[in-house]
């Protein structure tokens, strides 16, 4: 690579480089924070490229070289990874100011102190959820998520509609924090489809009717233990342009849905022209999740409210992707997680030049609206200004009218922290949160010891049980040994 000139990139000094960008691209700052943009020392690349290194499993992705607050001292992703403090890390300090409420939350008690705080971070791989959860309860992990299996025994509802931790966790001073994940789970329509697609008023009303019949709140309660909020549009909370208020398409309204369905030419789910009941197809990818059947059943139930029969075509992800690439899907369910916190990273899924069938992009619904495209092209390279917000609102208005998606929901992450892990700001998109983390090692060691004292009283009981079992056998054996011969 050193033999080739990388045009548009200049080295300023040992720690600085400059990149030229054609035109304006504000999102570029986010790209710089992504792992693949990290500057790599050419000496390291050359070292690892030597013969025999790869054959011995010595490669740069296994023994990485970098300039961050930690270095990877042990790398065995199948078992354990250990990160140790990088003694050569450049001076970096905890922020002096925060958001309103941060002082009260104790988040600024270490303001101005040198980062990182922790000397060693150990990641252990747990493939099964039960041992993982048990080890968290024993204090061997500082933080944990909550699996669906344990959710109901860990969290319960309060009389005022809130949630609280179980008495067992509260007694251990375990804390719960809830963070909005910058992602959306949605149901989409293929706009190329003859029945649900297209831009006629009938097709729009059909999609709007189906959207309104989906009780997303119920879905969140049943399938995610309430860990999510009903989406108000494609832009999740925490991203510029997010709409806080529910709107005409995000509120479940069966009556309006039936009215719109009739206006779309399907009164009570019957095609007014042919007299045939409306039948739709839903492409799904099967992951082997035990809840899957119930989830598919729930989706069918939403359409059954409008008297529409929904046929689920479940397959593996690769087949599903193939159908999406070929435009063979009618309805589908998918999710999108932010690459970077900018509305462009969500609204680009409606830009016609990203249509999956035509351009192989991320616009799975193959939505194409010249009016939206014009606004998107104007908005995408803008800074977060009131003008940009106005453009976003116009685009969202168009999307609500065309309804290529049923908005779905924004997932939330529930995290439990043991008492020795200091409070911190939730970070759902960045990769550098560990340098801000703090733990009280002494308290952890003390509580681990206290929580994990072996219970030894069953040991004598076990020995006694063994003696009780062995004794009669031994007596019977001895009796048989000394018995006199019997006449048969």
């Amino acid at each position: 690579m050193r033999d080739y000139e990388l045009q548009g990139v200049r080295l300023i000094d040992n720690y600085t480089y400059e990149i030229d960008i054609k035109g304006k691209y504000p999102q570029f700052k986010y790209w710089l924070a992504m792992p693949f943009f990290a500057a790599m020392p050419w000496e390291a690349i050359k070292l690892y490229a030597q013969p025999g290194f790869l054959e011995s499993n010595i490669s740069i992705d296994w023994y990485p070289v970098g300039t961050g607050p930690y270095y990877l001292a042990e790398n065995n992703p199948e078992r354990r990874m250990i990160m140790l403090r990088n003694q050569n890390y450049h001076p970096d300090y905890y922020p002096l100011v925060g958001e309103p409420g941060d002082v009260e939350d104790g988040l600024l008690t270490v303001a101005g102190q040198r980062l990182p705080f922790i000397d060693q971070i150990v990641f252990s791989l747990e493939k099964e959820s039960i041992p993982y959860w048990d080890k968290f309860l024993q204090g061997y992990y500082d933080r944990s998520g909550i699996s669906s299996d344990t959710f109901n025994s860990v969290i319960s509802g309060t009389s005022n509609g809130g949630i609280q931790l179980s008495p067992e966790l509260l007694a251990r001073n375990i804390r719960l924090s809830i963070a909005d994940i910058l992602s959306i789970v949605y149901w989409g329509f293929n706009m190329l489809d003859d029945t649900v697609g297209g831009y006629t008023e009938q097709a729009r009303k059909l999609r709007q009717a189906i959207s309104l019949a989906f009780d997303v709140e119920e879905y969140i309660t049943i399938f995610t233990n309430g860990r999510g909020t009903v989406a108000t549009g494609p832009i999740p909370k925490g991203i510029f342009g997010y709409q806080d208020e529910q709107n005409s398409l995000s509120i479940y309204n069966l009556q309006l849905a039936k009215k719109l369905l009739a206006e779309a030419g399907y009164p009570n789910g019957i095609n007014a022209k042919t007299g045939q009941p409306l039948q739709l197809y839903f492409e799904a990818f099967s992951s082997g999740d035990p809840d899957e059947k119930a989830r598919f059943g729930w989706i069918q139930k939403q359409l059954a409210k409008l008297n529409i029969e929904l046929i689920i075509r479940a397959t593996d992800y690769n087949r599903f992707k193939e159908k999406m690439d070929n435009g063979d899907a009618q309805m589908y369910m998918w999710a999108w997680g932010a690459d970077y916190p900018d509305p462009e990273n969500f609204l680009f899924m409606f830009y016609s030049k990203n249509a999956t069938v035509k351009h192989g992009g991320e616009n799975g619904s193959n939505y194409s609206n010249p009016q939206f495209d014009a606004l998107f092209e104007k908005f995408k390279d803008m800074e977060d200004t009131p003008e940009r917000l106005a453009l976003i609102q116009q685009m969202l208005q168009i999307l609500k009218h065309d309804a290529p998606w049923i908005w779905g929901y924004f997932p939330q992450a529930y995290t439990l922290s043991n008492p020795w892990a200091a409070k911190g700001k939730p970070m759902t998109i960045g990769n550098n949160a560990f340098k801000y983390s703090r733990v009280d090692g002494k308290l952890r060691a003390k509580l681990q010891l206290q929580w994990n004292k072996p219970i030894i009283w069953p040991v004598p009981l076990l020995i006694l049980t063994l003696i009780i079992i062995i004794c009669p056998a031994f007596i019977a054996y001895k009796r048989r040994e000394t018995a006199t011969a019997e006449k048969i």
Binding site: N57, E78, R79, E126, D134, N318, G360, P458, E481
Partner: protein, 322 residues
């Protein structure tokens, strides 16, 4: 005997070739090379060009069995990926790691559980089976057999989860899961070994008991009794020795397979052995690892069968290999 061994090794070649073809077919009937590439590249921002590049880089851009363009069977995925296996060159995994090196690193943890579990299990099963056979026809025997059937009927998953709950979570005698190098691994392997032994008691005891009972009904036992030998002498000196022939040969067949580890135990106890390596490869659709592990399993199984035949000759002088 050497002639016999050489003949068996030659017979193994078409078997291994068949296993290779079957693994290849099964894998690529379910997954196309495009699917494998997509799996490795992730779900986001994957274009057909990226898929094609990945396939070229990993040798999946060739036809499966016959290259019609070049009229060649060597310029195919099957040939390029499978023929080297015959010289135990497992190559590089689809994730970019050397498979032979990974096997070297992982067989230790697998054996740390498998060997003690086999030895302890054998001792426990033989002892209990002898006890039941000794008391044949009594309540002890009947209840013992019933208990064995009950133990056999319980899934090994129950033993794992139950063992982790009782001994690790409630009694806190051992860690729930994990692994450490050297002697530090002792506390981590105790529970998997115990689970493996208890999980195998039901079937093992019933099986071994049948050998002992069969031996105890033979004429030589009656003769020994008539000669006035004690039950203990008959049991340990005559019955045990003769019953051990089928038991030992049964053990020899599984000996090489211990190397492969346990898929379920290693996964639940987070042991970085070959069992979890295989299961992860299946989950990740890493064909390079799957074919290597299936091939290795087949070789070890054939080796086990050969060792069984040899062990027959060693423990029973009446048998000759031809």
């Amino acid at each position: 005997m050497w002639q016999y061994i050489i003949r068996r090794i030659i017979y193994a070649i078409p078997v291994l070739l068949g296993v290779n073809i079957l693994t290849f077919l099964l894998f690529f009937v379910v997954n196309t090379p495009d699917d494998v590439a997509r799996m490795q590249l992730g779900a986001k921002h994957v274009t057909q060009r990226m898929i094609d590049d990945w396939k070229t880089m990993h040798g999946y851009d060739l036809p499966l069995f016959y290259n019609a363009e070049q009229h060649s069977i060597t310029k195919t995925i099957f040939w390029q990926k499978s023929v080297n296996l015959f010289v135990f060159d497992f190559g590089i995994s689809d994730g970019g790691r050397d498979i032979k090196q990974a096997i070297k690193e992982r067989y230790g943890p697998s054996l740390a559980i498998a060997i003690p579990a086999l030895i302890i299990g054998l001792l426990v099963n033989v002892t209990v089976a002898m006890l039941l056979a000794f008391f044949k026809g009594t309540y002890l025997d009947s209840w013992g057999v019933i208990l064995c059937v009950m133990l056999m009927s319980i899934s090994v998953l129950f033993y794992i989860v139950g063992g982790q709950y009782l001994f690790a979570r409630v009694l806190k005698w051992v860690p729930i899961s994990g692994y450490a190098d050297g002697w530090s691994s002792f506390k981590f392997v105790l529970l998997p070994i115990a689970v493996s032994v208890v999980g195998g008691i039901g079937a093992g005891v019933r099986w071994y008991r049948s050998f002992f009972v069969e031996e105890m009904n033979k004429d030589y036992v009656r003769t020994a009794k008539a000669k006035g030998l004690s039950d203990t002498t008959i049991l340990f000196k005559h019955v045990l020795r003769n019953a051990m022939i089928p038991i030992l040969t049964g053990i020899v067949v599984v000996l090489p397979l211990l190397f492969m580890g346990s898929l379920l135990l290693e996964s639940f106890f987070a042991v970085p052995g070959l069992g979890s390596y295989t299961i992860d490869a299946i989950r990740n659709q890493d064909f390079a690892i799957v074919r290597a592990m299936v091939y290795l399993g087949s070789v070890l199984y054939i080796l086990g069968l050969l060792l069984t035949d040899i062990s027959y000759v060693m423990v029973d002088p009446r048998i000759k290999l031809q």
